[in-house]
Amino acid sequence: MTTSTEAISIAALSKSFGGAKALDGLDLSVAAGEVHGFLGPNGSGKTTTIRVLLGLLRPDAGRVRMLGGDPWRDAVALHRRLAYVPGDVTLWPGISGGEVIDLLGRMRGGLDRHRRDELLERFDLDPRKKARTYSKGNRQKVALIAALASDAELLLLDEPTSGLDPLMESVFQQCIQEVKLQGRTVLLSSHILAEVEALCDRVSIIRLGRTVESGTLAELRHLTRTAIAVQTTQPLTALDGLPGVHDVLIEDHHARFDVDTAQLDTVIRRLAPLGVRSLTSTPPTLEELFLRHYGDEQTADGKAAS
């Protein structure tokens, strides 16, 4: 069965609202049992994708499969097996947090009373307060506890930690690690890169409703540049004109430059005869990975506007 290998498989998904294209041929593949980071700038289509997966939106074109079913047709059956945390949690003002957690759990088909109470403790949430008095972070906790207290095999989390403080952020990371150990699947849309680096096996970066990168963090790093700082005994002359070398700064025997990670080997071979006295190599951070695509976005926007 496909479900054992792929929890989510999306191919060439498109969705428009009126004239605005929210998704434009998006591809996404999430293997069962992995924590998959879903990254992209605001308005790139992350929430729309998740709403399609929830069967709330009907796709215009493309193929969407989730847990072996069709999210639109088999919505109710699939929803018994997944839990969802919206990015912007709105609750019923007159109902307490504890009641919301219980209600959502029961409507999904039952929740683990024990785990619910334990999560309330860990997230330090007062379940007796009415939802109207909760802050954004506390509303977020209500939705998180409701999702984590279930035994759903798939968690769809849309920027789940956007209102949480650093302490709660680390509680959240622990919880996701536990979920991972239990072999459950998580689709985590997030802006917090440290969180993604800490939790995710693979990531997909989307932009303007389209997938631009997808793979493990190591694979993605391979596609970007590594920063090198080097000191040699002989003058640094051979660097200019080398393929894959960018932004070179030479100062006598010192040099700083970026190199396409794919060309790293060639460049090091060229440096070795010069007598390397020190060398530091900094792999690209997720931030840089990210900014590269965000930067592209700004250029793309600029082009579209002009």
Partner: protein
């Protein structure tokens, strides 16, 4: 008070799509009534005949106002239309204030405003200024319409001023209520209740000695007697009341925290009750407060109408010569009155039904439907949950009215049989009310964005047809489009089941069609 003026400009901008419709509605009511009345009763003889028939018809007096107004043709116009325009204007004022004060605080938008260079009192002051401006506009439009259709200018000025006075009182009342309650629904509920009481009190006063009318802002307006003596001093009453209520609102505002009311909200349950387990339970939990409020309000209205019914009977007994002119004698007059009041109650029940069904849309646009639909709850169950409240709730609300009216009337004439009888009479209107709800369901499925407008226009249409079909001389086909026109006018007429079954069938089909639309569209847009 800093920032009041720019806030007022902003509020006017936000109201530019809605407010003109309220003004237009009020103006049209006066315009149609004035031309129609002058057509029908323009001659002194016709007016004289009208005075004789209406002067003895307590039901009409209870619905409209004090019969002294019938002295002149202008007064006749005021008699027929004042109370209804007053209700429109009061509701306009209530929504204007509620929307721009408590609702803004509740959503947190006011926080953003207050963080700017805006004084603590500025939002309230701007909202009140907005309401006063809107009511002055109503006044000017009433004066222009009345004088423009040929009524005396002095009386028209008083008519307009009295109307604006009613609106301003309810604006100030809403401003005070908005300080007391933490959510705007409670504010509307309370002010709506006072408005209902104001209408009933003046009805009781106008039928009786007149004393009770002085307890009602609508009564104050009517008792300026425009075109029928032109008494200006009662205008001081709305002025004094508004000043008092505004002072109270300001005093309360000064002593409360942002977002808080007078009574802090109590903590809720740590765990959900065992019964709160599906979409039905959630819908009933969310709507039970407003259902209780509407049922209590309509029950009280029933009691009020029921107690007046006896006065009508007594009047006919005291004046047997009037009964001679009535085909069915005294019994028919009472039955006509009861049929009329139940018809009114049915319109209010329809308004409740629309408000309840529109919760479905509010759940969707607020994003609260999303977590529910992400569970194993199907769209059908989600819709049916809320719809069950609208359908059963309207039955309960009508039943409350029938029981109230039956109990009050039955107690006075010592006939317990009136309780089940009038409860049954009230429920006759249930199919028509359901059909109005079905219109909202169709809109939710196929045209969700204008669903609120469509729902309220439907209620408004039915109200105009029911209340004014005769005095406005509306064409036959216009009347027949309202389901209320097809409901047998029990107890005056015999109960006919066929139209009721047809209406229920139509409602069911329309709801099915609405669900078919909801099933295939995107949720949340």
């Amino acid at each position: 008070m800093t920032g009041t003026l720019s806030l007022l400009r902003f509020m006017l901008r936000r109201e530019r799509a809605g407010l003109p419709w309220w003004l237009l509605g009020a103006t049209l009511l006066v315009l149609v009534q004035s031309t129609q009345s002058q057509n029908l009763y323009g001659s002194p003889e016709a007016l004289q005949r009208l005075r004789q028939t209406i002067g003895g018809n307590t039901a009409v007096i209870a619905m409209n106002g004090p019969p002294r107004l019938l002295e002149s043709i202008g007064g006749e116009v005021v008699f027929e239309i004042f109370a209804f325009v007053a209700i429109v204007v009061a509701l306009m004022s209530m929504f204007l204030i509620g929307r721009h004060t408590r609702a803004e605080e509740e959503t947190g938008r006011a926080e953003l405003i207050r963080s700017a260079r805006v004084g603590r009192h500025a939002p309230l002051a701007a909202a009140l200024a907005l309401a006063v401006l809107a009511n002055l506009a109503v006044g000017v439009l009433v004066v222009a319409t009345a004088a423009g259709t040929g009524l005396p200018v002095t009386g028209s000025l008083l008519f307009g001023a009295a109307m604006a006075g009613v609106g301003i009182v309810f604006a100030a009342l809403t401003a005070a209520a908005a300080q007391v309650f933490e959510n705007v629904r409670a504010v509307y509920g309370t002010v709506g209740l006072v408005l209902g009481a104001a209408y009933v009190l003046r009805a009781a006063g106008d039928v009786g000695s007149g004393a009770l009318s002085w307890a009602s802002p609508i009564g104050w307006g009517q008792r300026t007697f425009p075109y029928a003596g032109d008494r200006w001093w009662p205008l001081l009453l709305p002025l004094a009341a508004s000043a008092l209520l505004t002072t109270a609102a300001v005093a309360l505002l000064q002593h409360r925290d942002f977002g808080a009311g007078l009574v802090p909200s109590r903590p809720g349950r740590a765990q959900a009750a065992a019964s709160l387990r599906n979409a039905y339970a959630l819908a009933w939990r969310l709507q039970r407060g407003s259902l209780i409020g509407w049922a209590a309000g309509l029950g009280l209205l029933g009691v009020a109408y029921g107690s007046i019914a006896d006065t009508i009977e007594q009047f006919i007994r005291d004046n047997p010569e009037i009964a001679e002119f009535l085909p069915g004698g005294a019994a028919d007059v009472v039955d006509a009155y009861l049929a009329l009041t139940v018809g009114m109650a049915a319109l209010i029940a329809a308004a409740y039904g629309v408000a309840s069904a529109l919760r479905i849309r509010a759940e969707e646009t607020s994003g609260r439907a999303e977590p529910v639909l992400a569970t194993a709850t199907s769209r059908l169950t989600w819709l049916a949950g809320h719809l069950s409240v609208a359908l059963v709730g309207t039955a309960l609300v009508l039943l409350a009215f029938g029981l109230g009216e039956g109990a009050a009337y039955g107690l006075i004439i010592s006939d317990a049989g009136q309780v089940p009888r009038l409860a049954g009479v009230a429920l006759t209107y249930l199919p028509a009310v359901w059909l109005v709800i079905a219109v909202v369901v169709v809109a939710l499925g196929w045209a969700p964005r204008p669903s609120a407008a469509l729902g309220w226009v439907t209620v408004g249409y039915c109200a105009v047809v029911t209340l004014f079909a005769d005095s406005f001389g509306l064409p036959e086909w216009v009347q027949r489009a309202s389901p209320f026109a097809h409901t047998p006018q029990v107890p005056l007429a015999d109960l006919a089941l066929t139209p009721l079954i047809v209406i229920v069938g139509l409602a069911a089909a329309a709801m099915g069609a609405g669900y078919a639309g909801l099933r295939r569209r995107d949720v949340g847009y």
